[in-house]
């Protein structure tokens, strides 16, 4: 098929939007940590724009989207962007240049890696994080992306639906975050010491950029510019709105409607709608978003307050739980009336779809969890995952990066 200029404009713009999510995430996370770790936290997202940006074009894309090997992993035919050109791919995104599809996918890989860092900020060694992440990208992200989205991938073949990465991005990141926390342990002084966010306006800015970018993430995943993209766009906005509003109300019932809670809710709603956006009616995004906020709120409370698990920026509660709920919700609310390439879900009488979704959740989540423990252990044994006590106390900005976020005359 020839390249369609409108579809290409939308896909390129979507790729740019998803790219912006990574600096957005950097600020979202950076505002939530203590002042002495702001830059280190930001760097844990920004650095992957470099590292994963390179690995993806060198081999990541090929192993994810190249010729299938037994449903498990892609081939080497796209190594170093070989055969990835200005013409549409024969298989993916048939109305836009293959390069556009490839770079759109690159942005997903980058942010996925950045996402899980939220769990381990304020204590992980920067060098070890880079090595871990390169391995994780290769061993966890690349194959699971193939399972779900690659032509011939076994989950795709099974009919598990994941419109824009609920499983590949969010479950992967959320579950791996939890595994990493188990390896790494709590921050010194958690719980007990106040770990007050240093800059909530920065968190809001990050959340705003994430919401904005998510239109590219979800509606861009239609890969064309038209009805499906519009439907996914609307569902995305509704889910974010519903979840932000729900979280605000829950926190109000507990005491006050917090800003941090409201923006967190928005992000959780966006996570939950991700796998569903192009398969459900826009209005289904209301329950999907609202329930996501409830699950994530109470999941977070349980984990953090009750059980003392120091998933520092709640990556598992937001992305893991939100992603799992979203994947299952896709199996509940999906309807072919929205997307003929999709499937009907539970409500339309197809309980099987929910089962398929469950298989997707369990297989990707389980694999990510175990693989992360393995890779993490390996890196811990060889390089050490955690900074020394003095380095942690003085803060990672100075100890890992030799910088302070806010200079000036004195501080």
């Amino acid at each position: 098929m020839p390249v369609n200029t409108g579809d290409t404009a939308w896909l390129l713009m979507s790729a740019a939007l998803v790219m912006l999510m990574t600096p957005g995430l950097a600020l979202f996370y950076g505002g939530m940590v203590r002042r002495k770790n702001v830059l280190s936290t930001i760097m844990m997202s920004f650095a992957f724009l470099g590292l994963v940006g390179l690995l993806w074009v060198l081999y990541g894309y090929s192993l994810s989207f190249g010729n299938d090997h037994a449903g498990i992993v892609g081939g080497l035919n796209f190594l170093g962007l070989n055969n990835v050109g200005q013409e549409p791919s024969a298989i993916y995104a048939s109305t836009t240049p293959h390069l556009a599809f490839m770079i759109f996918q690159a942005m997903f890989a980058i942010i996925t890696v950045a996402l899980f860092t939220g769990a381990v900020v304020e204590r992980i060694k920067f060098g070890s994080l880079l090595v871990f992440s390169a391995l994780w990208l290769t061993i966890v992200y690349v194959p699971t992306a193939h399972w779900v989205w690659g032509s011939g991938g076994w989950l795709a073949g099974l009919g598990a639906l994941d419109f824009a990465g609920g499983t590949v991005v969010h479950i992967n990141a959320g579950v791996s975050a939890l595994a990493l926390v188990m390896l790494l342990g709590r921050r010194r002084g958690f719980p007990g010491n106040s770990m007050e966010p240093n800059n909530i306006p920065m968190v809001v800015l990050g959340a705003g950029l994430l919401w904005f970018g998510w239109f590219g993430f979800n509606a861009g995943s239609a890969l064309t510019s038209g009805g499906l993209a519009s439907s996914a766009f609307v569902a995305t906005n509704i889910a974010a709105a519903a979840a932000a509003f729900t979280w605000m109300i829950i926190s109000w019932l507990h005491r006050r409607p917090t800003v941090l809670g409201t923006v967190t809710g928005a992000v959780v709603g966006l996570v939950a709608i991700t796998p569903a956006a192009g398969f459900v009616t826009p209005l289904a995004a209301i329950p999907i978003g609202a329930i996501a906020a409830v699950i994530s709120y109470y999941g977070m409370t349980l984990l953090k307050i009750k059980r003392g698990v120091d998933d520092s920026l709640d990556v598992f509660a937001c992305h893991g739980l939100g992603g799992i709920w979203g994947a299952l919700a896709t199996g509940i609310f999906a309807t072919v009336s929205v997307n003929s390439a999709g499937a009907d879900g539970l409500i339309m009488g197809n309980a099987m779809q929910l089962l398929k979704q469950l298989i997707g959740v369990v297989s990707v989540g389980g694999f990510a969890f175990i693989a992360t423990l393995g890779i993490g252990k390996l890196v811990d044994k060889t390089m050490g995952l955690r900074v020394g006590q003095a380095e942690e106390t003085v803060g990672l900005d100075i100890s890992q990066h030799g910088e302070r976020a806010y200079g000036g005359l004195l501080r």
Binding site: S251, R255, G261
Partner: protein, 112 residues
């Protein structure tokens, strides 16, 4: 000469400043501090749960004055900084041995 150090609520600062001004006490140095006392802090909420923060923002005013000015300055501060709730703050009086005006090198009384 004495140094009057007053720790007061931020929100009473404008009133205190005005009162001092009206009594012709212009010179002062102010800084942002955090304090704890009878007032046991406030409860903040973030994503979930609550957390007590026990150091609250206060302002510290420092004025160096002649001995005879200590009492009127204290009075002006107390009258204007008081709300009656815990957390109103404290005033400390410390002895000062020498005062120098940097601009002129003047010492003591004439330097205040």
């Amino acid at each position: 000469m004495k140094k009057v150090e007053a720790i007061i609520r931020e929100e009473r600062f404008e009133a205190v400043k005005k009162a001092l001004e009206e009594n012709s006490y212009f010179g002062m140095t102010v800084s942002e501090v955090s304090g704890r006392g009878k007032q046991k802090g406030i409860s903040l909420q973030w994503r979930v749960g609550e957390q007590r923060v026990d150091l609250l923002p206060k302002l510290k005013i420092e004025l160096v004055v002649l001995d005879q000015d200590v009492v009127p300055v204290i009075d002006a501060i107390v009258r204007n900084a008081r709300t009656g709730d815990t957390g109103d703050g404290k005033i400390f009086i410390l002895p000062v041995e020498t005062v120098v005006r940097v601009r002129t090198g003047d010492r003591n009384e004439s330097a205040i």
